[in-house]
């Protein structure tokens, strides 16, 4: 008697030992665990969010210069106001460059959205079109292993209105970093330029970039000396 389809199916199920189904699952689990253990700290995100944090970075800030519009301005008061503006804006520029060049979770994944929050709406539209100049670049994750910040400087000129209140600040930036390529060579990243910042009406976030003029002049370089900078990669 030939068994029907139902009978054939049920007889086959009975012939597969339970162990043969469990073993592959266990092996897969072990494999994943080994991978996580061995590669987890190296920046190769296997299961989301595995990028190392950005290296600590702060610009060196020169004393701010006040540019008064009142004929008989109190220079000491104006200088104090200009310094206050510099203190308010410096973290914004620190974050801008950290997000644009140093944070692996941005440059490894071509995710520079945070960079453009520093810009006023009109300027942001142009900045986004200039991504390759204002950030490490869309393909940086394919090319670089690590990016280390170098000596970078900010200087400020602050335009004060006739009442002595800050109106516009121009930040002159020189940013330097060294990026190690996956092929073992090094690139010196140099971003230099000016950012105009103003307090945009209706925006409570504070200072925003309203105009900019930035150059990128990268060049080949040698591996940095061990004490020259802080590494962006714990394993480097």
């Amino acid at each position: 008697m030939t068994p029907n389809r139902v009978q054939r199916g049920s007889s086959k199920k009975r012939r597969v030992p339970l162990a043969l189904l469990i073993v592959p699952v266990v092996l897969v689990a072990i494999g994943v665990a080994i991978l996580l253990a061995l590669r987890g700290g190296e920046g190769g995100a296997i299961i989301g969010g595995g990028d190392e944090p950005p290296p600590p970075f702060d610009f060196i800030v020169k004393p701010a210069t006040a540019v008064p519009t009142a004929p008989d301005a109190d220079e000491a008061a104006l200088s104090a106001n200009a310094e206050r503006v510099a203190q308010e804006i410096t973290p914004i520029i620190d974050d801008l460059y950290t997000n644009a060049y140093l944070d692996p979770s941005n440059w490894r994944h071509d995710d520079y959205e945070e960079v453009f929050t520093a810009f006023a709406p009109d300027a942001a539209a142009t900045a986004e079109q200039s991504l390759e100049t204002l950030t490490l670049g869309a393909t940086a994750g394919d090319v670089f292993d690590t990016v280390d910040p170098g000596k970078s400087k900010l200087s400020y000129q602050v335009l004060l209105d006739p009442d002595g209140e800050p109106d516009t600040a121009v930040v002159s930036v020189i940013f330097r970093a060294t990026a190690e390529r996956k092929n073992g060579t090094y690139l010196a990243i140099v971003s230099e330029g000016e950012f105009f910042l103003g307090q945009i009406d209706g925006q409570e976030e504070g200072w925003k970039i309203t105009a900019f003029d930035v150059k990128r002049e990268d060049h080949e370089t040698h591996p940095p000396s061990p004490s020259a900078s802080t590494s962006a990669s714990p394993s480097a």
Binding site: R15, V23, I34, L38, T69, T133, L159, P162, S172
Partner: protein
């Protein structure tokens, strides 16, 4: 198609999974070799720029008034030595300058017929604006004014103006002593250049053109300095606000300054309303050529620009060599 026995199929599955796991683990232990074929990612020098220039289609008219107030006098209550309409077409990043001779005999609202320069004395810059608006039918958006001392200071604040002096000047009254050619004028010399009329063939007409020439020079210099060092913009804006009197707010000054950096100064038309001289009640006055005045005013009203066909001859033409 042959069917493998269930045990053999299960064994094959286990073998495949084991191979995958082993391969993955091995890959993790021995990192992939450095990608020698990775792109070098050598950026060429690159540049990113955003300048918030005005781009509206409506022309902007600014009346620029030079008061003859001396250092100890209030600029608002003297006479206007120079009167110019600065007309800007933001969309096209172009501009025109039209000088109105100070002795132009015109109707001053509430005062009657008189020299246009007295409007400042009778009613301050607002009355000058009303007079010019009535004369040209152009609505001034803003006015800005300087006096002798503040003009000098403004020029000195930007380290002088580079001016192409078009012809030799030798005028004792204004102390304008210049050889022709490109030179940097400090505040004192820029004022002398702006005031000289005695050795010009058309007197105040030629002087008004030279005053416009200083404005064009300032525009060219602002652009040049901004391109070299954008922060210079603040020095210019601050000097303008500090030394001038104006209805422009500081942010509007910056907006116009940014817009000015996009204007090609070489293409700015610098003209003077033409006319002749006459005596009225013992006064030597300028009678404007009404036909040309109307033509220029209507042309400016259109888009803020002046067509070549409506550009009158330079009052300094005899000295310009053609």
């Amino acid at each position: 198609m042959s069917v493998l026995p269930a045990r053999r199929r299960a064994a094959l599955l286990v073998a495949l999974v084991a191979a995958w796991v082993a391969g993955s683990a091995l890959g993790a232990i021995q990192p992939a070799r450095r990608a020698s074929a990775a792109p070098l990612f050598q950026l060429e020098p690159a540049h990113a720029e955003y300048v918030p220039v005005l781009d509206g289609t409506k022309p902007i008219y600014i009346l620029i008034i030079g008061s003859d107030a001396r250092p100890d006098q209030a600029v608002e209550s003297q006479r206007a030595d120079s009167i110019h309409i600065l007309s800007i077409n933001p969309a096209e990043h172009r501009a025109a300058i039209v000088g109105i001779p100070r002795d132009s005999y015109v109707e001053i609202p509430g005062v009657g017929q008189n020299k246009i320069n007295t409007a400042l004395f009778y009613g301050g810059p607002d009355l000058v604006v009303q007079t010019v608006e009535q004369l040209t039918d152009l609505k001034m958006d803003y006015w800005a004014m300087t006096g002798f001392a503040s003009f000098e200071q403004m020029v000195d604040d930007v380290d002088g103006l580079v001016v192409d002096v078009p012809f030799a000047m030798n005028d004792e009254a204004s102390r304008a002593f210049f050889d022709p050619g490109v030179q940097r004028l400090d505040g004192d010399n820029a004022l002398a250049f702006a005031r000289n009329r005695h050795d010009l063939p058309a007197g105040d007409f030629g002087r008004s053109e030279n005053q416009g020439r200083l404005m064009v020079a300032a525009l060219a210099q602002l652009k040049k300095e901004f391109n070299k060092d954008p922060a210079r913009m603040l020095i210019w804006a601050a000097s303008f606000v500090r030394n001038g009197t104006t209805t422009l707010a500081l942010d509007e000054v910056l907006d116009l300054a940014f817009t000015g950096t996009a204007v090609n100064a070489n293409k700015v038309e610098n003209v003077v309303f033409p006319g002749g001289t006459a005596m009225v009640g013992g006064l030597s006055v300028v009678t404007l050529n009404q036909e040309t005045l109307q033509k220029i005013s209507k042309d400016l009203a259109d888009d803020g620009l002046l067509r070549k066909a409506n550009v009158p001859p330079s009052p300094n033409e005899p000295l310009l060599g053609g």
